[in-house]
Amino acid sequence: MVPIARRNLLAEKGRLAMSVCGVAFAVLLVLIVLSLYRGWSGIGRVITRLPGDVWVTQPGTNNLFRSSSFLPAGREGDLQAVAGVQLAMPVYSREMGYQRDGADYNVLFMAFDAPAATASGLPQETRYRYFPAPGEIDVDSVFADKAGIRTGDVMDVLGQSLRVAHVTKGGNAVLAQSAFINGADARTIFGTAGMVNFYLITTQPGADAAAVQHQLAGVIPNSEVHASAAFSEALSRDVSEGFLPVVGVLVGIGIVVGGAVVALTTYTATIEKSRDFGVLKALGASSAYLYRIVITQSVIVGALGSLLGVAASAISTAVIARSIPEFITDLRWIDVTIIFLATLAMAIAASYVPVRRINGIDPAMVFRA
């Protein structure tokens, strides 16, 4: 078959290029927003990475970052005695501002107060990341990049000088990044004598998690027990629910803009080629044959725009990750596939007006000179 649709588009290369770019920008907008959404909605992993799987908190605590929790200190032994518990640690945690070189940073300072001997039984990666020695601090790499902090630097945290021992990944929660300090330092810095914020429990391998949680519930009066996964989901849900309406609006705008670009291009190309369509009608072309030309034009513009938009999105997310590290992006193939198919569907829908236009072309026009 003669590729009339392709020839029609290539007859105006400048317009084709602009149309493809228009669709690409719409796809770029949608994919960037979706990748940010995906990245942000996964920030709950910050919690599940911590060295424990059950939290004991003051009642009403539903978010490790936003809720305050105070429990009596020294109860880790009681918790440790529960069957199925491998390790119970006091946790000190406080999100607060940290100033460096005139700039403010939101940092979640945390300390897991396990005796060195106990901590030494944990995997090396866990000890390395979460259990700094007294006078040391391990910071998240995103925070370190933003604040220009390197290993060996000294940070002043509320009057306490702490040497940066490690810069690690995985502690970025977008609005705040985590830093881990020693339990003794935390007690001094936070001034929480006789109190801890949480207890973090590591269950024994193979233990019935639900049964362990149930038994933990009664150990400390006036406390609650939460699985790490529940805290993680709560944090992710907070971000998702706040972000989702914005994502919806921006995705909607992207689809409308992309659809308008395709519709305008195809309509203009159809108007310009009205006589050609009249000739084809006079030659006996069926409606299906003519519609196929128009729809193919739309699909070509949509497909080229999508591919360009996907490529631009991949590059943009890489650039964003490098230049704005706290903006977690997660460009997924499933999103790319869905947006690609949605763009093609939108392109086909955008053919509706030009198709109607073709229906109105009188083939007898070909006899007019």
Binding site: M1, V2, I4, R7, N8, L10, A11, R275, D276, V279, L280, K281, A282, L283, G284, A285, S286, Y289, P363, A364, V366, F367, A369
Partner: protein, 240 residues
């Protein structure tokens, strides 16, 4: 001329545009028929209804009354959706302004007519190529339509009209935009098609040179057929 089997039958065809005081009878009670291998030349002044008549013969416009029958198919008895099939398989058009698709090559312009009829691939390419070679355009197969001369365009247009082997060829002022040499070549091509291949050719034109190849000349004035040519010199053909 083979008068035994009329390929085209036109019976009392009338076309009225508008209504009441603005009513215009563009074609008024025209009747004739044309057999296979016959060349019928319809002449008349501008506004006489020639092109309107041709449009109705090609199934592009419905007569207000009367019958048009092509290859035994009564166009008036057919649903509008069936008329494209008649145009694809039974009628070939040659236009004054060629009406080639400018973004396509000469060969593709002919192929398109075959594609429209459901013929594609190598079969369409080979047929288009053969027709253009027969039309003397062997060296122009890949040329874009916009890069061809007027005479070449008209030969491509004729090749396209013949692509689906129609029995009836309708030509609207086929020599009007051509110089003398190209006009003569197109006339010769139409003559060969009728006489060698037995196709019926109906030509609408001002060009009196076409009288040389016509088997029959019909004179149309104010939408009606006249018995003989008008005497006024300007009506003999301003293009001469």
């Amino acid at each position: 001329m083979n008068a035994t089997h009329p390929v085209l039958i036109v019976q009392d065809v009338t076309k009225v545009f508008g209504a009441a005081r603005t009513q215009v009878r563009a074609v008024d009670g025209v009747s004739f028929d044309a057999a296979g291998g016959e060349i019928v030349l319809i002449m008349g002044p501008s506004g006489s209804g020639k092109t309107t008549l041709l449009t109705m013969l090609g199934g592009l416009l419905r007569p207000t009354s009367g019958r048009v029958v092509i290859d035994g198919l009564d166009l008036g008895a057919m649903r509008p959706a069936e008329l494209p099939r008649v145009r694809r398989n039974h009628v070939g058009f040659v236009f004054q302004s060629f009406n080639l698709l400018e973004s396509l090559s000469a060969q593709e312009n002919v192929e398109v007519a075959l594609n429209v009829a459901g013929v594609g691939g190598a079969a369409a390419r080979d047929r288009a190529r053969d027709l253009l070679i027969q039309a003397g355009l062997e060296g122009r197969l890949g040329f874009r339509a916009r890069d061809l001369s007027g005479g070449e365009k008209q030969r491509v247009s004729i090749a396209r009209a013949l692509a689906n082997r129609p029995q009836l060829l309708l030509a609207d002022e086929p020599t009007a935009n051509l110089d003398s040499r190209n006009g003569h070549e197109v006339m010769q091509l139409l003559h060969d098609l009728a006489k060698r291949e037995g196709r019926t050719v109906v030509v609408v034109s001002h060009d009196t040179r076409l009288q040389d190849i016509a088997d029959r000349i019909l004179w149309l004035e104010d939408g009606r057929l006249r018995d003989h040519a008008p005497d006024a010199p300007e009506e003999r053909g301003a293009t001469l």
